[in-house]
């Protein structure tokens, strides 16, 4: 169950503060990195929302993001709509797609849910890959950034764009935390914990899960709009399943089910990738080793582990900490 603890608030402020400072005082490329981190972090929050709290480990979040980006671009570039309505429609498309996926896959769980979402994601990927009208695998360009001059903001300025990205990340975090604290979010955690009991208490869990996926789709859609605005170019590459795999990696690396962990995971992964690729072409291996070590160290992720340590430090008999064996047993049943 989600609680916006002080520790989480502090971690979030530190993470966002770091991004803002890094963008403000860093070089041009630092700003690019900050935007990349924001996009990945938003996507990771979106995935943590449904995977960490709803137990729906989706492998189609890349596709959801891509659909938002594509619809946004089709409306703006191909049909000449103004950017705000295009973005709204893009978000709507993402919400509808992920809600639909959530609805039809509601009966599956564990690896079956993962595979089902993979299937839907890959179908969307193939659709855009094969659409000659949309440039196929070459993708589409010609996107322009939002005109926020009425706010005195020039989005073509890398710093402004990066800071705005951080702002949107904060907003998405707030949306996710409000949703998770609401009655809806509480019940979502209940479904994750024990779906059949939740049904026995009168909750239509299929509908609930579909709605949760739709909410998650909204957040992933936000990432898609920023991604399109950032690169001013989109390609089916956005939708491919490995993108979703990377997001999952970020969520786990940071700490699944903590909401702020994924933000930290995104910072770590992108920074590590850029630093490592300067030195070696074999950085995948290092990422792999880090991933293995992270799981061997307890699987709580970087932030998750810190949270456990700090909670133990401040309240020696913290009642919130779940017991290890029961949890893993429960998860095992989840998959079987």
């Amino acid at each position: 169950m989600f609680y916006q603890t002080h520790l989480r608030s502090i971690a979030l402020i530190l993470a966002l503060g770091f991004l803002a400072i890094y963008a403000s005082f860093g070089s041009y490329f630092a700003r690019e990195i900050v935007v990349e981190i924001t996009i990945l972090a938003i996507l990771a929050i979106s995935l943590d929302f449904c995977a960490g709290f709803g137990g729906m480990v989706s492998l189609c979040h890349g596709a959801i993001m891509g659909i938002a980006a594509y619809v946004f671009t089709i409306m703006g570039v191909k049909l000449g709509w103004p950017s705000l309505p295009s973005a709204t429609l893009g978000l709507l498309a993402a919400v509808l797609f992920s809600g639909m996926v959530g609805w039809v896959t509601a009966r599956t769980s564990g690896i079956f849910f993962i595979m089902a979402t993979l299937a839907f994601g890959q179908m969307a990927y193939t659709f855009f890959f094969k659409s000659r009208w949309l440039g196929g695998d070459d993708g589409m360009g010609g996107i322009s950034r939002f005109d926020l001059s009425w706010l005195g903001l020039d989005l073509n300025d890398a710093l402004v764009f990066a800071l705005l990205g951080v702002g949107v990340l904060f907003l998405v975090y707030v949306v996710a935390s409000i949703l998770l604290r609401s009655g809806f979010g509480r019940v979502l955690c209940g479904i994750h914990s024990n779906e059949n009991r939740m049904q026995a208490m009168g909750v239509n869990t299929a509908k609930h899960k579909a709605l949760a996926m739709a909410c998650s789709g909204f957040m992933a859609g936000m990432a898609g709009i920023i991604a399109a605005q950032h690169t001013l170019y989109i390609s089916p590459e956005l939708l491919i399943w490995t993108v979703s795999g990377e997001v999952l990696l970020v969520v786990i690396l940071g700490g699944i089910g903590t909401l702020v962990g994924p933000v930290i995971g995104a910072i770590i992964l992108i920074m590590m990738k850029h630093e490592l690729s300067n030195y070696t072409d074999y950085w995948h291996m290092i990422v792999g080793v880090v991933l293995i070590l992270a799981v061997l160290a307890g699987g709580r992720g970087v932030y998750g582990q810190i949270e456990v340590w700090l909670e133990a430090f401040f309240k020696p008999q913290a009642p919130k900490e779940p017991k290890e064996p029961t949890e893993s047993k429960e998860k095992e049943q989840d998959l079987a």
Binding site: M1, I178, L179, R181, S182, G183, F184, R186, V187, C189, G190, S193, N194, N196, R197, M198, Q199, A200, M201, G202, V203, N204, T205, H208, P319, K320, E321, P322, K323, T326, E327, E330
Partner: protein, 245 residues
């Protein structure tokens, strides 16, 4: 009033419930007796809609609910507790009760407000905790409390939805005599506007709380009557009580 009419259920070739008919009046305490494999738990599955009957009808409060699914039946006030603990293991007792309360009061559709802060939900959590004697452990994780306390919470989860019809599947299974007394007390204290069906193996408890008793054997109703009548019935003695002694 709960009305079960000609209910049958078969799995493959096996008839688990056959031609079962009975009625339970509002506010009644009805104990279901029967040896293992008599179809008691299956009857509960059929009543709560987890499984669909092969034939026959169930009606509750004047409406036919035979075709209604589990979620629908829960939302018209039918709640159950389970024979094997079926709790939210990695959450606290408070959170468990809160989920039940929010589910039953439609707070699951609140997208912004925190249901656990709502006065309605809060009082219900406290009231229920009081009823099942868990008030002093509200913030304990379920996987850290004793087995007996989990049995209490099992009933608490059902009660927190404020049901009008409560099905309890062996609430005292696996607990010691002291705990059975507690359950006795709990059952006595439940308000009379709740109709209760209870599967119970502890004879003393069963006979002292029941208004009427229905005895099942091999999926069939073999007897129905008051505790006193049941005690005196030869068939029941033979197939059930005899066996128990």
């Amino acid at each position: 009033m709960l009305k079960v009419d000609q209910l049958s259920k078969d799995f493959g070739g096996l008839q688990v419930i056959r031609d079962l008919s009975f009625q339970v009046a509002d506010g009644e305490r009805r104990v279901i007796l029967g040896p293992n494999g008599a179809g008691k738990t299956t009857l509960f599955h059929l009543l709560t809609g987890v499984k669909q009957a092969s034939s026959g009808n169930i009606s509750y409060a004047g409406t036919d609910i035979s075709a209604m699914d589990a979620v629908g039946r829960a939302s018209i006030g039918i709640a159950r507790s389970y024979q094997k603990n079926n709790l939210f293991e990695n959450l606290t007792i408070r959170e468990n009760l809160m989920l039940a309360a929010s589910a039953a009061t439609g707070k699951s559709n609140w997208f912004i407000r925190d249901a656990s802060l709502h006065a309605d939900v809060k009082t219900r959590i406290e009231e229920t905790a009081e009823m099942v004697a868990l008030s002093d452990q509200l913030d304990m994780m379920v996987n850290a409390i004793s087995y007996g306390n989990r049995r209490q919470l099992e009933v608490g989860l059902a009660l927190a939805t404020k049901p009008s019809l409560l099905l309890m599947d062996e609430p005292t299974s696996g607990v010691g005599p002291a705990m059975i007394d507690r359950f006795h007390h709990l059952l006595d204290s439940l308000p009379r506007d709740i109709t209760i069906l209870i599967i119970e193996h502890d004879m003393d408890l069963a006979f002292s709380i029941a208004d009427r008793i229905t005895v099942l054997n091999f999926g069939e109703k073999v007897f129905e009557g008051t505790p006193a009548e049941t005690r005196g019935n030869a068939t029941v003695r033979q197939i059930y009580l005899g066996e128990a002694k």
